[in-house]
C-alpha cells in the first residue's frame, strides 16, 4: 500500500498489560492513514477495546512507541494543556457502554460538554447542538436525562455528544451491540456519510455483518493479542480459514461475504 500522506497514527512494538502476567496486547505494529475507514476485528478478549483506548490516548502502552498526528503520544505530553485540547478535539471516542459514556444531567448538557471544553462561543455551540440533534433525530430528547432513554437512543446521543466537537478521527467500540436491526442499518449509513466527509472512522467489532459496509481496511487480532492479518475487507472476509483460526466463526457457521446485502 502506498500513501502520499504521513500516517495519522503509527504504533511501534506496542504492548499493554493490566497485570504483568496477562498481556492484553503484544507487539502491535500498525499505521493508520487519514480518511481511512478501518475495522479492528477480533474475538472476545483479543484486545480490540484496549487497542482503541491506546490510540485515543486514554491508556498508555506498557512498552512501545505511538505517534499520533506526527507527534509522540505520551502521558506526559497529554499533560500539556494546548496539546491535550487539540488532541481531544481531533479524536472522538464512542464507547461500547453508552450508560458509562453519558454522565450529564440532560442530553443537551451532554452534547455541550465537548464544545464547551474546547472553548467555542455559546451561540456556535447552540447551533451545533441543534444541527447535530436534527441530523441524528434526537431533538425531542434534548431536555431528557440520558439514563431514561432506550438503548438505540442512548447510542445516538453518545454519537452526537462526540460529533459536536467535530473530531477528525472517530473511534467506535462495538457500536452495533444491543441495537435493533433498523438502528444498526442507520448507524452503518451514518458512518459511511462521515467517511465521505473525510473523517477517519476506526471501529472495533466482532460483528462480521457490518464489516464489509464500513471498512476499507481490516486488521484482525488473534487471541494471543497479536495482529493475525491486515488487508482489505474483501480479502479478510473471504478468508474462511483465517476467520476460523482466530475463532471469529464456528466451523459449522455459514458466514459468507456479501451475506448482509444478499436479501436487502
Amino acid at each position: 500500500m502506498s500513501h502520499e500522506t504521513d500516517p495519522l497514527f503509527k504504533l511501534t512494538d506496542v504492548s499493554y498489560a493490566y497485570i504483568t502476567e496477562h498481556p492484553v496486547l503484544s507487539n502491535i505494529n500498525l499505521e493508520l492513514y487519514p480518511g481511512q475507514s478501518l475495522v479492528i476485528l477480533g474475538a472476545n478478549g483479543s484486545g480490540k477495546s484496549t487497542l482503541l483506548k491506546i490510540l485515543a490516548g486514554l491508556v498508555h502502552p506498557t512498552s512501545g512507541q505511538i505517534l499520533a498526528f506526527g507527534q509522540a503520544l505520551t502521558e506526559k505530553k497529554l499533560q500539556n494543556p494546548e496539546y491535550l485540547a487539540e488532541f481531544r478535539q481531533r479524536v472522538g471516542f464512542i464507547f461500547q457502554n453508552s450508560d458509562a459514556q453519558l454522565f450529564s444531567a440532560t442530553v443537551r448538557d451532554e452534547l455541550s460538554f465537548a464544545p464547551l471544553q474546547l472553548g467555542l462561543p455559546k451561540d456556535l455551540i447552540e447551533q451545533r447542538i441543534n444541527e447535530t440533534a436534527e441530523l441524528l433525530g434526537i431533538t425531542r430528547l434534548l431536555d431528557r436525562p440520558p439514563y431514561k432513554l432506550s438503548g438505540g437512543e442512548k447510542k445516538k446521543v453518545a454519537l452526537a455528544c462526540v460529533l459536536t466537537a467535530n473530531p477528525d478521527v472517530l473511534f467506535l467500540d462495538e457500536p452495533t451491540n444491543g441495537l435493533d436491526p433498523r438502528t444498526q442499518f442507520w448507524l452503518v449509513e451514518f458512518l459511511s456519510a462521515l467517511k465521505s466527509a473525510g473523517k477517519t472512522v476506526i471501529t472495533a467489532t466482532h460483528d462480521l455483518s457490518i464489516v464489509e459496509e464500513i471498512a476499507q481496511r481490516v486488521i484482525v487480532l488473534r487471541e494471543n493479542h497479536t495482529i493475525a492479518a491486515d488487508g482489505t475487507a474483501y480479502e479478510i472476509l473471504s478468508n474462511r480459514d483465517l476467520l476460523l483460526d482466530v475463532n471469529l466463526i464456528h466451523k459449522r457457521s455459514h458466514f459468507h461475504i456479501g451475506g448482509a446485502k444478499e436479501h436487502g
Binding site: 500522506t5 504521513d6 495519522l8 497485570i19 483506548k53 485515543a56 486514554l58 491508556v59 499520533a68 498526528f69 506526527g70 507527534q71 505530553k77 499533560q79 500539556n80 494543556p81 494546548e82 496539546y83 491535550l84 485540547a85 487539540e86 488532541f87 481531544r88 478535539q89 481531533r90 479524536v91 472522538g92 471516542f93 464507547f95 457502554n97 450508560d99 458509562a100 459514556q101 453519558l102 454522565f103 450529564s104 444531567a105 460538554f113 465537548a114 464547551l116 471544553q117 474546547l118 472553548g119 451545533r128 444541527e131 447535530t132 441530523l135 439514563y147 462526540v162 460529533l163 466537537a165 467535530n166 477528525d168 449509513e189 451514518f190 456519510a193 462521515l194 466527509a197 473525510g198 473523517k199
Partner: protein, 317 residues
C-alpha cells in the same frame, strides 16, 4: 444523509504538524479525579494480587480455613491481652516467620501495616500523651505556663509535659493494633475470599450476612469496571478546560449514577438467583477436609497463646 457544513470540515492534515506543544506552556494540570481513580483501580488490582498470594502453595494456604481462622482468632485475643512489649514483638517475629513460610513477601506485609497504622492510631491516642489529659510522671517537659489554668470544671497544671505512662500506653496500643492488623492481613492474604466466608459460616455468622459480603466482593469489580469506563468516557472529551467545580460535579453525578446502577443491578442479580431456585439458602459443593496437621497447628497456636499469656502474668507489671 447530509451532514452540516461544519461537520464536513476537517483539521489540516499532519503534513504540517500543528500539534506542536509550545514550550511556554509547561504548567501541569493537577487532575484530582484521575489520581483518585487510579488509586482505586490500583487498590482493586492489589486485591487480585492478594488472591494471587492465596493461591500459592504455602503453609497457611494449605491449612483448613476454619482452623486457621480459629488459630488466628486465638492469637488476636492474646495480642490484646499481653502488656509486655518484648513478648508482643516476639510474637510479631513469629508471625513474620509464618508469613515467610506461607510465601507472603515480608516487605509487602510490613509496608501494608506499618505505614498507615501508627499514623491513625497514634493520632487517636495523641492527647493521652500529655499530662493535662492523663496525669503521670513527666518524661519531656514541653512548656511551663506562669499559672495553672482553669476552664470551667477542668483544671490544668502549669506544666505541659509528655508523661512516661502516656508514652508507654501509646507504644503498647500502636503495637497491639499493628500486630492485630498484621494477623488479619495474613489471614485474608492467605485465604481465598470464598473460603474465608465459608469458614465464618461454621462459626455461626448468619448466612444472609455472608451472602451479602460475598456478593459485595464480586460486584465491586463490576462496579469498578463501570466506574473506569465512565472515567475514560469523560477523559476522552476532556480538553483540560474543566474547573474544580465541574470535576466535583462529575464526581457527584458519577456517584449518583453508580448508586442507581448498583440498585438496578442488585434487583437483576436477585431475580436471576430467584429464577434458579434461590430461597435464601446457599448450598455449595466444596467441603473442607480436616487434616491432622491442621489440628496440630491449632494446638501449637493454642499452646503459644497460653504460654505467652502465662509469661505476661509472671513478668507482672
Amino acid at each position: 444523509m447530509d451532514l452540516p457544513l461544519w461537520l464536513q470540515k476537517n483539521s489540516p492534515l499532519p503534513t504540517t504538524p500543528s500539534l506542536v506543544a509550545s514550550p511556554s506552556s509547561k504548567k501541569k494540570r493537577s487532575n484530582f479525579i484521575q489520581k483518585t481513580l487510579e488509586g482505586v483501580i490500583h487498590f482493586v488490582q492489589e486485591s487480585i494480587y492478594s488472591e494471587e498470594i492465596a493461591l500459592r502453595p504455602g503453609f497457611l494456604q494449605t491449612m483448613d480455613p476454619r482452623l486457621k481462622f480459629l488459630a488466628i482468632f486465638l492469637l488476636l485475643i492474646t495480642v490484646n491481652l499481653l502488656r509486655h512489649l518484648p513478648l508482643l514483638w516476639g510474637l510479631y517475629f513469629g508471625i513474620l516467620i509464618l508469613a515467610a513460610l506461607s510465601k507472603v513477601p515480608s516487605r509487602f506485609l510490613i509496608q501494608r501495616v506499618w505505614l498507615v497504622i501508627p499514623l491513625f492510631t497514634g493520632l487517636m491516642v495523641l492527647p493521652s500523651l500529655f499530662n493535662w489529659v492523663r496525669p503521670g510522671d513527666p518524661l519531656w517537659l514541653l512548656w511551663t505556663f506562669s499559672t495553672p489554668f482553669q476552664i470551667g470544671p477542668l483544671h490544668f497544671p502549669a506544666e505541659l509535659s509528655i508523661t512516661r505512662q502516656g508514652f508507654e500506653g501509646e507504644v503498647l496500643l500502636i503495637s497491639r493494633v499493628g500486630i492485630s492488623v498484621t494477623l488479619a492481613v495474613l489471614l485474608t492474604l492467605t485465604t481465598r475470599w470464598n473460603n474465608l466466608l465459608r469458614a465464618l459460616r461454621t462459626f455461626f455468622v448468619p448466612k444472609i450476612f455472608i451472602v451479602t459480603l460475598e456478593m459485595t466482593y464480586r460486584y465491586i469489580f463490576v462496579l469498578i469496571t463501570l466506574m473506569e469506563d465512565m472515567f475514560f468516557a469523560r477523559k476522552s472529551r476532556d480538553a483540560g478546560q474543566s474547573s474544580g467545580a465541574e470535576q466535583r460535579r462529575f464526581v457527584g453525578s458519577s456517584i449518583a449514577h453508580l448508586f442507581g446502577k448498583s440498585l438496578q443491578m442488585s434487583e437483576e442479580v436477585y431475580t436471576s438467583m430467584a429464577a434458579r431456585g434461590y430461597t435464601g439458602e446457599i448450598h455449595t459443593l466444596q467441603k473442607f477436609q480436616l487434616r491432622w496437621v491442621d489440628v496440630f497447628s491449632l494446638g501449637v497456636s493454642l499452646m503459644a497463646c497460653l504460654t505467652l499469656y502465662a509469661a505476661d502474668k509472671v513478668l507482672g507489671g
